[in-house]
């Protein structure tokens, strides 16, 4: 049995979320929450691996840390093919930066004990750090491959996986022994939509919830949440808007193109290599 853990996060829909420029805050109520779009690719990759190996040859566990309402995202993960879903939700976890988040998630993974492959999206659309995946790999002392655009081959007998990792303007074929962690890009697949039947079933499914007491044997409350986070936001400022010329030609492009040529000449971007 290949044990796959997919890390997921509930995020606000950043396309809809409203931003209060005056107060410098996000109005989180202005947009619905959704499963982080990059995580859909990680889930789909897990489901494709399972399809290839066979129904009984792999188990997919979706793992998330977040508030109680993140249950919705885990239900979506179930609808999309996860076999089990675990939500780490506790007051003690709140306010965690990427360090504390990685510590909590890696501790939960250690507690799960059986894991071969951990999949994560390359980043989340709200935090946008891309740090949690590699940080978990370091906490677990396992190898990771980042920006994985393709899974070439999974060799269950030799317990390893071959992937394409996009780094340094190049594609590298990496072979990693299990257990290992992969962060995947949008290129890896096109996530399928869950069927209505799967959605209905998932809605009724039980999400396993772990609060701090599930992990308290492994980590002290001081190591996590706001207290345990080494990075602190001290101040937030509204980003200054970039001033633009804003000249628009609506009737005919000849004059406009002449202007662009002048501009290119002025900036010495024309000819004379």
């Amino acid at each position: 049995m290949l044990d796959i853990i997919v890390l997921v996060k509930q995020v606000p829909d950043v396309k809809k979320v409203k931003f209060d420029r005056e107060r410098g805050v996000i109005d989180r109520k202005s947009a619905p929450n959704e499963l982080n779009p990059f995580d859909l690719n990680a889930l789909e990759a897990a489901v494709q691996i399972k399809e290839e190996l066979g129904e009984d040859a792999a188990k997919i566990t979706a793992l998330s840390m977040g508030p109680d309402m993140a249950e919705d995202s885990l239900k979506e993960a179930l609808a999309r093919g996860a076999d089990e879903a675990i939500l780490l939700s506790a007051r003690e976890f709140a306010g965690s930066d990427t360090w504390a988040t990685s510590l909590v998630l890696s501790t939960a993974i250690k507690k799960l004990a059986d894991y071969d492959l951990i999949l994560a999206g390359e980043k989340t659309v709200d935090g946008d750090t891309g740090q949690v995946g590699p940080q978990i790999a370091e906490f677990l002392d396992i190898f990771h491959a980042a920006y994985v655009s393709e899974i070439k081959k999974l060799d269950n007998d030799n317990h390893n996986i071959q992937v394409i990792s996009e780094l340094w303007q190049s594609s590298f074929l990496k072979t990693l022994d299990f257990p290992c962690l992969l962060t995947v890009t949008k290129e890896i697949n096109d996530p399928r939509l869950p069927s209505i039947k799967d959605k209905v079933q998932a809605r009724k499914a039980e999400i396993t919830k772990w609060d701090y007491s599930a992990l308290s044997d492994y980590i002290a409350a001081e190591e996590i949440g706001i207290k345990g986070s080494p990075t602190r936001i001290k101040n937030i400022e509204v980003a200054p808007a970039i001033e633009r010329e804003g000249e628009v030609w609506r009737d005919g492009y000849e004059k406009a193109n002449e202007k662009i040529c002048e501009l290119l000449q002025e900036k010495q971007l024309l000819g004379g290599e």
Binding site: S171, E187, K234, R250, I260, C261
Partner: protein, 326 residues
């Protein structure tokens, strides 16, 4: 490391095939500025797969260069890099540790931060020293760049990855002197199999001019029109996500949130409507020119010069006019 005695700024210089990525020279420049407030040393860390002229980093502002030479660094394996960078970090004992937010930097830095038991701020656009505490303020955009968060790190070293092209490169001063310190690589082999299977010739983040296409293109071969213009100007072709998804062009050309973030001198958006997803990747270009049939396309809101028109007419005319000027 001995955190009690930590001092100085360490800049990781990422080497690829004998060249140091320019972001290191930008960070060395910023480090000079921070150094004035902190009165400390600036060092650079290089893990190189081949012999380099390390004095270049001294000319650019490093007081010390710590280097480890090992053929294995020709393979981007984060864990092996981490172990060796840890060795340098322990030797120099910095209070500030900076890495470029290149793809590899963003994958390597998190491992190093955990190993050093310290926090990490991703993708910063500016750095300052807090006058009162002498602590590093790390400034990073959040929520599509609408806000800038000022972040401080409790504990040491204060560690951040910084975006490319946020600071100017340090000037080259060949009269500068400094110390070059060679360390031995850590023992053991890379336990991940790595083989390079494809290398792209050009890096879109390095392009001075980008001619980008979007949904206004009717078929893949029409990208040739944009390529013509790019060739005339010595630029590169970029693309919005939808035409990459449709297979018009490879992901390496994609500009935007799930592609590259670019800062060229001139960005010409042809037939790109300007979804937020795309705009976050190019809004910091020096000059933005937009060509679109739809006068209400949001791309015009971020453009210096907008042309409401059909790219199939506008671009060939622009090419002709450029030829006349040359």
């Amino acid at each position: 490391m001995d955190k009690e005695k930590a001092s100085g700024i360490l800049v990781f210089a990422e080497e690829r095939k004998g060249d140091v990525h320019n972001v290191a020279y930008e960070l060395l420049n910023k480090a000079q500025e921070l150094k004035e407030d902190l009165d400390c040393e600036v060092a650079s860390a290089v893990l190189s797969s081949q012999k380099l002229d390390y004095s270049e980093l001294i000319y650019r502002g490093a007081d010390k260069v710590y280097c480890i030479e090992d053929e294995k660094f020709a393979s981007p394996e984060e864990n092996y890099y981490k172990k060796n960078l840890l060795k340098i970090t322990n030797a120099f004992n910095p209070e500030i540790l900076l890495l470029g937010a290149t793809g590899f930097g963003r994958s390597l830095a998190p491992r190093l931060a955990i190993a050093l038991e310290t926090g990490l701020t991703a993708d910063c656009v500016d750095l300052q020293i807090d006058e009162e505490s002498n602590k590093l303020i790390q400034i990073r955009p959040a929520f599509s760049g609408n806000i800038l968060a000022h972040i401080k790190t409790e504990g040491l070293p204060q560690m951040a990855t910084i975006r490319y092209k946020e600071f100017t490169e340090a000037p080259r001063d060949t009269s500068r002197s400094g110390e070059i310190i060679k360390l031995e690589p850590t023992e053991g082999e890379i336990e991940v199999g790595i083989e390079k299977i494809e290398e792209r010739a050009k890096d879109i983040t390095e392009a001075k001019i980008i001619i980008a296409g979007g949904q206004g293109l009717k078929q893949p071969q029409d990208l040739d029109i944009l390529q013509d213009l790019a060739d005339k100007l010595g630029g590169m072709v970029g693309a919005s996500r939808d035409i990459v998804d449709e297979g018009y062009i490879s992901h390496a050309h994609q500009v935007g949130y799930s592609g590259a973030r670019v800062k060229p001198k001139i960005y010409i958006a042809c037939g790109i409507s300007g979804a937020t997803q795309h705009i976050v990747g190019m809004k910091e270009a020096d000059i933005i020119i937009a060509i679109n049939k739809d006068p209400s396309a949001p791309i015009f809101n971020v453009a210096d010069y907008g042309i409401v028109g059909d790219l199939y007419e506008v671009v060939p005319d622009l090419i002709a006019k450029i030829e006349d000027c040359m």
